[in-house]
Each structure stands twice: as structure tokens, then as C-alpha cells.
Amino acid sequence: MVNVYESVAANRRKSLLVITSFIAFILLAAYFIARGLAAYYGYESTGLEFTGIALVISGFMSFISYYFSDRIILGLSGARPADRKADFNFYTVTQNLCLAAGLPMPKLYVIDDTAMNAFATGRDPKHAVICATTGLISQLNRTELEGVIGHELSHVANYDTRLMSIVTVLVGLVTLLGDWFLRATWWSRGSRRRENGNAGAIFVVIGLVFAILSPIIARLIQLAVSRRREYLADASSVKLTRQPSGLISALTKLGADLEPLEAANKATAHLYIVNPLKGLHGSMDWFSSLFNTHPPIADRIKTLESMV
């Protein structure tokens, strides 16, 4: 038996830990790659300007997708606005849970797809959008729907769109830096290299190691952050509805539904309640679960069952 409040607090702590280690890693990697790049070109400086340029480029790309996240996603997914009468349960459940969570009512959309799924996006609670498929709305009862909407509203309340955008910017930063480093060392083959002593050579080697490994490590931590936020949203959903059974049976149904969602792609996968790109392989080994945006449904159900 886990207290709901404790469960939410524990998830927040773990989430903070993952995010802190992520930022620490990014800082370290950016520093060494930039330092190596500077040493490679024989600059006197620490190469901070490379980090600056990469941050601006990566930030600019992600800012657009973050600021217009609500509109871009909806354009991609081909959704229609939800209607109180036609989508009674979806509409009123969201209304009621917003009341409990103290959030403004998000815009609601329905995707016409028999695959069962739902997602939340938008840069802040005022611009939040929650979207559900017709498959989800028709196959879940009201209690189960409350669990799913509670999960999505928790993503909104926890500013997960903002968090994941920042994480994406930082992953883009080290990926760009690593890419520049590898290109520079590959194409110039040392022709522009000047004498800069042993210290410079060491920085070039360290930079090379970071340039090769950082993008993949950063991506793995990004996925760990994403999974951590899913657990947090599950726990916060239970805190809203006080009915873990609703979310448990909804997740069981969602897990049994093997149909992939046509409107989803890799860029939007982390927003959904369950991975919309799921394949047919049911069991997930330790290694392949590292590359998942969502924790395995069985683990999520087990965690929720401890709260009953």
C-alpha cells in the first residue's frame, strides 16, 4: 500500500534526479566537445562560442515546435474539435477533472481512428490540448476514461511539454556539437592543425570520445526522463481520481489493443498515454526497453496496483 501523496512526491524526486543528471551530462559533454574543437583548430579559448552557436540553432528549431506545439500536432494528426453532446463522457470527464486539479479547461479534440490512444500537448495549461481517438472514447467506460484523462491532465499540470522541449533542445545541442567535431576532424585530416602541445592533443581525444558517445547517451537519458514523467503522470492521475482501478483497467485494455495509431510518428510518440507505435512483440527485454518513450504497461499496472 503506497499513499498517493507519497507516490507523487517520490516520482517528483526521481524525476528531478534524472533531469539533474541529464543537465550535468549535457554540460560536461558540451564542455569537452567544444574544448576539443577549439584545441583541434588551435584556438586559445575554451571553445564556448561553439556551444553558443549550437545552442542558438538547436534552441531555435525546438522553440518553434514548442511554441506552436498545439497547432502543429493537431495539423499532423487530423483531429476534429470535441462536442459536449457527441462526446459526452470525454467532454464532461475532462471538465470535472479540471475542476479537481484547478486547471483551465483545455481544448479537446477527437482523432477518428479505431486504435485506442490519447495525448496532451500545448506550451502551458492555458494553451493545453487534449486529444483522444474515437477508439478510446468508445471502448472505455467513464471510470476508465477518468483515469486516462487524469493522466493527460497531469502531463499538462506538470508542464511536461515544456520539459520535453527543453530536453530536446539540449539533446540537439550535443548532437550538433558532436557532428561538427566529427566533420572537422574527418574532412581536414589535420591539415589545419597547429602545434598546440600535449594538453591540446588530450582535449582533442577526449572531445572525440564525447562527440561519438554523447548523442546516444543524451538520447537514452532523454528517454529515461520521458518514462519517468509517465510514471509521475500515472501517480498524479490517481491523486486526482482516487480510483487506481480505472486507470489499471484502461491500461489493460490499451495494452491488449495492438493496432498502431496511423496519425502518430516518432516525433510525437512521447506525448501519448501508451506508445502509439507499438509492434507485435509483447515481451520487452531490458535492452530494448532502454529505447522506449514509455515504460512497459505491465510495470505501470504493477505500480498502480500497489496504490489500491
Binding site: 459526452f88 463522457n89 464532461t92 470535472n96 475542476l99 479537481a100
Partner: protein, 195 residues
């Protein structure tokens, strides 16, 4: 560094902290008041809604006299509770509406003719929704009061609360003794369902 300067920084930090905590308490109190109003607001909505539902479902439910009487009863008690403005009465009235729902469901399930009627389905949907809304409005009050009262008793925010004379909030009035906290021996036996 000058010790007086250092002391000054500490003093400023303490003052900023105290202001922050004071504002937290004041904000929480306002939110709690607003959430009580929200319960009233939802009950008012319920009181307005039920006569309309009553009217539209009349034709389909006229044979179910008992059910109809309960619906009318629930409406009346909600209306009188709203006009009296007493939070305790409001809660009683909301409980009546919540009790009504399973009874209607039984009647509807046993009668395929009215089960098919859109009007009745809508009546049930709306009744469930309105009692959910009242429940969630109360949940907000309970959660806000719990957060507020935790701060009242935990260190160091309790010091600030004492200095400014904040009092614990009562929240949803529930008797702390009575049958709802006891388990009778009949209730300990596992229930048998006979169909």
C-alpha cells in the same frame, strides 16, 4: 567579510522567506473559500438541471412512480439547501442525488423499452455527471484544506502561521465518530451476489 553585512543578508533572507510563507497561507485561505463557493455553484447547477431532466424524462418514466418521487425529492432538497446556503445541508442534498443514480439504473436495466430511449440515457449521463461535479468540487476543498493544514503543523511554516495567527481550516465537515468509521460483524462477511 563584515559580520554586520553577513547578518544583514541573513535577515533579508529570513524576511523574504516569511513574506513568501505568509502569502502562501493567505492564498491558500482564499482558494479554500473559493472552492467552498464552487461546491455551492455546482449544487446550484444541479438544482437547475434536475427539473429540466425531470420534465424531459417524465413521459418515459411515468410508470415508475417511486423513482419519480425520489427525483422530485432530490430536487426539492437541493433547492432548499441552496436557498439556505448551509454547507452541511448542501452536502446532504448532494448525497441524495448520488443515491438516486443506482436506483434509476436498476429500473432502466430491467426494462429494455426505456433502456433504448435516448432521453433516459441522457438523464442517467447527466445525473452521473452532476454528482461527479459535486464530488470533484468537494475533492478540491478537501485537498486544499489538507495542504493548508499540513503547512500549519509542519516546521518551519508552523512558526510563521503562529506569528500571524492563522487557524486550521475545517474543510469538509465529517463527523469523526459514528457508524461510518465502524465495521459491523455483518459487514466483515464476504458478500454473496444472487442473480
Amino acid at each position: 567579510m563584515n559580520p554586520i553585512f553577513l547578518l544583514g543578508i541573513v535577515a533579508i533572507a529570513v524576511v523574504v522567506y516569511v513574506i513568501g510563507v505568509y502569502n502562501d497561507f493567505a492564498t491558500a485561505k482564499t482558494r479554500i473559500k473559493a472552492s467552498i463557493q464552487e461546491i455551492g455553484n455546482q449544487l446550484k447547477r444541479q438544482a437547475d438541471l434536475i427539473p429540466n431532466l425531470e420534465e424531459s424524462a417524465k413521459g418515459y418514466l411515468k410508470h415508475e412512480k417511486d423513482l419519480f418521487r425520489m427525483l422530485t425529492d432530490a430536487r426539492k432538497s437541493v433547492q432548499s439547501a441552496v436557498s439556505s446556503g448551509d454547507l452541511g445541508k448542501l452536502s446532504d442534498a448532494a448525497a441524495k442525488v448520488a443515491e438516486l443514480l443506482p436506483k434509476i439504473q436498476v429500473v432502466v436495466e430491467s426494462n429494455p423499452e426505456i433502456k433504448g430511449a435516448d432521453v433516459v440515457t441522457r438523464l442517467m449521463d447527466e445525473l452521473r455527471d452532476t454528482s461527479d461535479k459535486v464530488m470533484y468540487a468537494r475533492r478540491t476543498l478537501i485537498d486544499l484544506v489538507a495542504d493548508y493544514n499540513v503547512k500549519m503543523v509542519t516546521f518551519p511554516t508552523n512558526l510563521v502561521a503562529n506569528v500571524f495567527g492563522f487557524q486550521p481550516e475545517k474543510g469538509l465537515d465529517t463527523p469523526s465518530t459514528g457508524t461510518h468509521l465502524e465495521v459491523s460483524s455483518a459487514e466483515t462477511r464476504s458478500p454473496k451476489v444472487q442473480l
